[in-house]
């Protein structure tokens, strides 16, 4: 069952590369949250029940409901355009995401380590690489936050890969990181949107004391 969610996760990465609409980014992030919930539900049954419930609540509440809801609010506040242009044509992005997927699957086959759960490591590796690529190709700060969240989802899977225990402290730290990151960036985007009436990053070069 875990494999189903892992394959679904790779498909969401492909749709991230395909879509150009801001609304779709938020939707896809929410879907990724649900997929992470599925992965956690089917693979983390050895840990303590309190930790288990905490992780499930974190994925379903924070990753798939609160963060997308907040991002939607930011999107509406700043009157973002429906379509976000990228600096690379979408066809190239699709080819690159496929390359990333193939590379990460073949790399993990080559790695064949006993210390890492490679099935989680493949998608987490692909997700982190793709998140970085996503940030590079977009010109808008809002999309940068989305890219940051894709990387965060990759980190969540990475913590599953290195040992399916998920220590509580690490978990809390990641959760705090995501929430603070998104809140601070959201406020930041709102302020920039109010000041410049646009959230494109080329406007940021004009920022001065």
């Amino acid at each position: 069952m875990t494999y189903l969610f892992i394959i679904l996760y790779t498909i969401t990465l492909i749709y991230f590369a395909l879509s150009e609409r801001v609304k779709k980014f938020v939707w896809l992030l929410s879907i990724q949250g649900f997929i992470l919930f599925g992965i956690a539900f089917f693979s983390l049954h050895k840990i303590k029940i309190f930790d288990f419930i905490f992780i499930l609540a974190e994925t379903i509440l924070v990753k798939s409901l609160i963060v997308p809801w907040f991002l939607n609010k930011v999107r509406k506040h700043n009157h973002l355009k429906r379509v976000q242009e990228t600096s690379v044509p979408v066809s190239y992005s699709l080819i690159i995401v496929v390359m990333i997927l193939l590379f990460s699957f073949l790399f993990n086959n080559f790695l064949n380590s006993n210390y890492i759960h490679t099935k989680y490591f493949t998608v987490s590796f692909a997700s982190i690489l793709f998140g970085i690529y996503f940030i590079i190709i977009h010109k808008n700060i809002f999309s940068h936050v989305v890219g940051y969240l894709i990387i965060e989802n990759g980190t969540f899977l990475l913590s599953l890969a290195v040992g399916s225990v998920m220590p509580m402290m690490v978990n809390l730290a990641i959760l705090l990181d995501i929430l603070m990151g998104v809140l601070v960036l959201g406020v930041f985007i709102n302020r920039i949107g109010d000041a410049f009436e646009s959230t494109k990053i080329d406007k940021l070069s004009k920022l001065k004391d």
Binding site: I7, T10, I14, L18, V90, K119
Partner: protein, 304 residues
């Protein structure tokens, strides 16, 4: 033989059902399900009109198109019923048979010397070229999955009880439905009901064909839909079922497929022309995911 008959019978109703579903959704009066067949009979009774600028290519193209598609039908098995023709590697032959038909319609469109038809031919060539990798990756993945390279053996040895098979089945069905839409120039790619030559893809190519030739082209379109419906049904029909059950499920799947096409055409907006290539490349990307799943199942990639 059974598979050939089934595909021919289902092809007669396919477009009729699509039109019926679209009419029902738009709350219009529904035409009879055999209306497209009556239209083609009417076309067959008419003679064809040829422009003075066209050459022999334009005259033979519809025949070659029809016969290549008909020949392709002979290769399709349904469940445990073998197609009339079968040999190792026939799925490559199948793809290029459809390719020959497409090539002939493209050069016949260019033969008319009309700017619009050349433009349509250009688009059609691009879209089929982009859809081809998706089909080959799916067929190749199936070949890897079953260790067989003919259509019949490939579907006969499909291990439907294998772990993760449902991912392969669902993703392949999704890709094949949309390849069928690309090949037949239907909704997300092209709107068959559009009335502006500048935005047409397939319809603009056959503007000059009339009478008997146009009838042949319509029949080839039905057959193509039915071929893809049969391919999709092979992912679902199990060989252990008895014959009547297999036939019933096949007809059910064809009906469901045509209904889905009707619903998609009623509710989906057409892609912008410049967004089409990236959308078709996405199909190849999804089929790569199928390929990776097959690699995991067959333990060519070992993940722990």
């Amino acid at each position: 033989m059974i598979s050939l008959l089934l595909i021919l019978i289902s092809s007669l109703f396919f477009v009729g059902i699509i039109v019926k579903v679209k009419a029902k959704i738009a709350a219009r009066k529904m035409p009879p399900v055999l209306q497209p067949v009556y239209d083609v009979i009417r076309l067959f009774k008419k003679g064809a009109v040829y422009s003075q600028t066209t050459s022999v290519i334009f005259k033979i193209a519809p025949l070659v198109y029809f016969s290549s598609v008909f020949l392709a039908v002979l290769f399709i098995p349904i469940g445990s019923n073998e197609g009339l023709l079968s040999f190792e590697g026939d799925f490559v032959f199948f793809a290029y048979l459809l390719g020959i038909g497409k090539f002939m319609t493209i050069i016949s469109a260019m033969d008319t010397g009309s700017g619009f038809e050349g433009m349509g031919a250009n688009r059609e060539a691009l879209y089929s070229m982009l859809a081809e990798p998706a089909f080959f990756i799916i067929a190749g993945s199936m070949a890897l999955f079953t260790d067989n390279i003919s259509f019949h053996d490939l579907f006969l040895h499909l291990k439907q009880d294998a772990d993760l098979y449902y991912i392969i089945g669902i993703a392949s069905t999704y890709v094949l439905v949309y390849i069928a839409m690309v090949e037949n120039s239907r909704m997300p790619i092209d709107d068959p009901k559009t009335h502006l030559e500048l935005t047409m893809v397939h319809e603009v190519m056959i503007l000059d064909n009339s009478g008997f030739d146009l009838g042949l082209i319509h029949i080839a379109t039905w057959l193509k839909f039915s071929i893809y419906g049969a391919l999709i049904s092979n992912f679902i029909i199990s060989n252990s079922w008895n014959l009547y059950w297999q036939i019933a499920v096949f007809l059910g799947i064809q009906f469901a497929f045509s209904t889905i096409v009707g619903i998609l055409e009623s509710f989906r907006a057409r892609n912008k022309i410049e967004k089409n290539p990236q959308w078709i490349i996405m199909l190849s990307a999804i089929s790569i995911v199928v390929f990776l799943t097959v690699l995991i199942i067959t333990q060519k990639i070992i993940l722990n």
